[in-house]
């Protein structure tokens, strides 16, 4: 269970990114965060794994306040929280396999990781992750040779290597086309349902939100302005959505009709 209490973040230049945000996420939820660009979604996600230090407030995860952790303790918590990025954030010049293996760094002693040789166990695990995401045949390519959808799957595989209890996904499909967006979100959904990993994901499109979210929170200018259950969001109209979200919101397909019906591998193969 993740509990955010009165979280506030003020950047050095005075920008207030988060204002007194509080909410709870029970284990196993697929929580979607909606809001305009600059509404504080990314800051919120990065505060949870402390890539950004919050100014005030508490982040209680299974009773531990993440906001107070430092050094070794912080890294031990971080390695249980996977993160997926809008721009994938892969090391472009390294191989896919190496990129996936970096997910294990939190479990490796420093001296061991310096040589660039990972334990056989971890390599085994990396192959399994790649297999699961359907990109095992790309393992020895350079990361930047892959298509966008494939790169994001490498990103998911990297997060998976951490044995995460929670995954933070910062607009994971914003740089992908609609078909690939569904493909990636289905991967996350399967991790959420089958492995019981809590997912916190920021999204832009109403039909994706309706299709995947089990709970939704809305941010506007750093403040929590909406909280709704799966049912609430299913019944939401475009007009309501735009009200919380802003005028930018739009649907990407006709009522989400293309969900899941397309074979991913053929899509990925076409893009590669």
């Amino acid at each position: 269970m993740l509990e955010i209490r009165n979280l506030t973040k003020i950047y050095d230049d005075g920008t207030v990114a988060l204002k007194n945000v509080s909410f709870t996420v029970p284990d196993g939820e697929f929580l979607v965060i909606i809001g305009l660009s600059g509404s504080g979604k990314s800051t919120l996600l990065r505060c949870i794994n402390r890539l950004i230090d919050p100014t005030e407030g508490q982040i209680l995860w299974n009773g531990v306040d993440l906001a107070q952790l430092e050094g070794e303790e912080l890294r031990k918590v971080r390695r249980q929280i996977g993160m997926i990025f809008q721009h994938f954030n892969l090391v472009k010049r390294s191989s896919v396999l190496t990129n996936v293996l970096t997910g294990r760094l939190g479990y490796l002693p420093t001296w061991r990781s310096l040589t660039g040789r990972f334990p056989a166990d971890d390599i085994q695990r990396a192959w399994q992750a790649l297999e699961r995401l359907g990109i095992a045949d790309q393992a020895h390519k350079r990361a930047d040779e892959l298509s966008g959808g494939q790169q994001q799957r490498v990103g998911i595989a990297r997060a998976l290597m951490q044995d995460p209890k929670m995954i933070l996904a910062d607009e994971p499909v914003a740089s992908l086309d609609p078909v690939l967006a569904h493909s990636i979100l289905q991967r996350l959904e399967s991790l959420n349902r089958e492995d019981g990993i809590t997912v916190l994901c920021s999204l832009h499109y109403l039909d994706l939100v309706q299709r995947y979210a089990t709970r939704v929170i809305g941010l506007r200018q750093g403040e929590l302005v909406y909280e709704g259950s799966r049912e609430d969001i299913r019944q939401m109209t475009d007009a309501q959505f735009k009200e919380i979200y802003g005028e930018e919101a739009e649907r990407i397909g006709a009522g989400g009709g293309i969900t899941g019906s397309i074979q991913e591998d053929s899509v990925a193969g076409g893009a590669a």
Partner: protein, 503 residues
């Protein structure tokens, strides 16, 4: 400036003077009419163009007739010697008239005036440039064939790359100078050996005023038959020189028995006072090539090989030192690392400024400076190239540090990796390929530069090349040119291959 006038401007306020007056004023002072027609910038630009062109023309005319006096005489002489100046003068006159017409136009129309006049200004400058550059395509074409023979030697210099060692046999006889009245034993017959006899065995050298010296009858016996022999002298202080007669070197032909006979006049020779007074012994010699050995590498070829090796090492050492010093410097010159506080930002700007200044000075100039410091030789070249490499690599390295993608750093941190691991897996993979690429590129440049750094005494093959070109020894120079070309070509290929693998 001229481009600005092609875009439609806001209509100007009406001219202060009527068109005719504007034209007249521009005749008085080019550009004045335009200025009063509320087009001040145009007027100033035309005035400065006209004055610059006029000044340049005056300078070139004076330069063409430096010894004449009086305006008319100078101008006439200059136009006579360099007819192209007439064309320049014509363009200037045309510009002068056009400026007046342009003033009339500008005063008449409130909208943007035509830009044709700026084309004329450009043409006038181009014509001056043509004259200043002494551009002469005709000379280039007509003298091309004269350059043929030396260029051929440069293109195929390999005759000079081998030589045959020759064994020279010297047969000599002593001669007393001047005669003392007592008999002097000159050359004596020898059994089984070649020998030289002279008649007489003493005499006087030729005088500086042209009085000929004693004529000797020189007879050689038992030399190599049917071959040439050169006649040489050795004066009392040991200097050797060839016998000349009527401007030609004296060469004799031996008969079937290896004998010859020739009349020679004792040559003029200025002896220093240190040689002392009184009779002295001279030696007359017959020199013959008696055998020719195996072909072997010539002195020039060996030198070229030695120096090209030196060249490659100059480039290598300079690159090595360059890398060592550029690495730390590049971190101070990377904005993303140095923008944390005003203090580090000052260091950043200082480093950048110093690097830019160093880089703007050519390695050849640095070499001249270091030759003054450490003297001629490869060390000066290494220092010069090192300094330039630090500046160039420092800039390239720091730019690749600046262009690091922060995304992967964030992602690796998010996996729970510590600082060392983050650097190892997110920073190093991004930095190493550009660093390697730039370094090899620099190595390539350094070796190319080290081939010419010798022109100013910085060691390497450039020194030989410069020397051989000045001695007009085009074959030897050709060997150096070939070595440079081969080295650079191989290096180009190798560095391209390595870089292709890293980037």
């Amino acid at each position: 400036m001229s481009l600005k006038h092609t875009v439609p401007e806001e209509p100007r306020a009406p001219s202060l003077v009527p068109p005719a007056v504007a034209a007249l004023l521009s005749l008085l002072l080019p550009g004045l009419g335009q200025a009063l027609a509320r087009s001040l910038r145009r007027g100033l630009l035309l005035l400065f163009s006209f004055l610059t062109l006029g000044g340049l023309l005056a300078w070139r005319i004076r330069l063409a007739a430096p010894r004449d006096e009086g305006l008319v005489a100078i101008t006439r002489k200059a136009f006579h010697l360099q007819p192209f100046l007439l064309f320049n003068a014509f363009l200037l006159l045309l510009l002068y008239l056009w400026i007046a017409w342009d003033a009339w136009q500008t005063a008449r129309h409130a909208e943007g005036a035509p830009v044709g006049i700026f084309a004329l200004v450009l043409i006038a400058f181009f014509a001056v440039g043509w004259q200043v550059g002494e551009i002469d395509p005709i000379r280039f074409v007509t003298q091309l064939d004269e350059a043929g023979p030396p260029l051929q030697r440069v293109l195929w210099p390999w005759e000079r790359a081998i030589e045959h060692p020759q064994e020279v046999q010297i047969v000599s006889a002593p001669i007393l100078s001047p005669c003392t009245g007592e008999p002097f034993e000159g050359g004596q017959p020898k059994e089984g050996e070649p020998y030289l006899l002279t008649e007489p065995t003493c005499g006087n050298p030729s005088q500086q005023d042209g009085t000929p010296g004693t004529t000797f009858t020189l007879r050689g016996f038992g030399l190599k038959p049917n071959s040439e022999a050169e006649i040489w002298w050795e004066d009392p202080i040991g200097n050797e020189f060839r016998q000349r007669q009527e401007g030609e070197y004296v060469t004799v032909q031996t008969d079937a028995q290896g004998n010859f006979e020739v009349q020679i006049v004792m040559p003029y020779r200025l002896l220093p006072p240190s040689a002392g007074e009184g009779p002295k012994i001279w030696t007359v010699e017959a020199r013959q090539v008696v055998s020719t050995g195996q072909a072997r590498a010539s002195k020039e070829l060996k030198l070229a090989v030695e120096k090209i090796i030196e060249t490659i090492f100059i480039g290598m050492m300079a690159t090595f030192f360059g890398i060592l010093l550029a690495l730390p410097v590049s971190f101070f010159a990377a904005r993303n690392l140095m923008s944390a506080s005003p203090f580090t930002l000052v260091i950043y700007y200082l480093t950048r400024a110093v690097l830019n200044i160093i880089r703007s000075i050519e390695p050849l100039i640095w070499a001249i400076i270091f030759v003054i410091v450490v003297g001629l030789g490869p060390f000066a070249g290494i220092l010069a190239l090192t300094v330039h490499s630090i500046a160039a690599l420092g800039k390239l390295y720091s730019e690749s540090i600046e262009s690091i993608d922060p995304g992967p750093i964030e992602a690796i941190q998010a996996t729970g990796a510590n600082w060392v691991q983050t650097v190892r897996y997110a920073v190093v993979p991004q930095i190493v390929p550009p660093f390697v690429s730039f370094t090899i590129y620099r190595w390539d440049i350094n070796i190319r530069m080290s081939t010419i750094i010798g022109f100013v005494g910085g060691g390497g093959i450039g020194f030989l090349l410069a020397q051989w070109i000045r001695l007009l020894d085009y074959r030897a120079a050709g060997i150096a040119v070939w070595f440079i070309a081969i080295t650079v070509a191989i290096l180009d290929y190798v560095s391209a291959e390595i870089r292709a693998r890293f980037v």
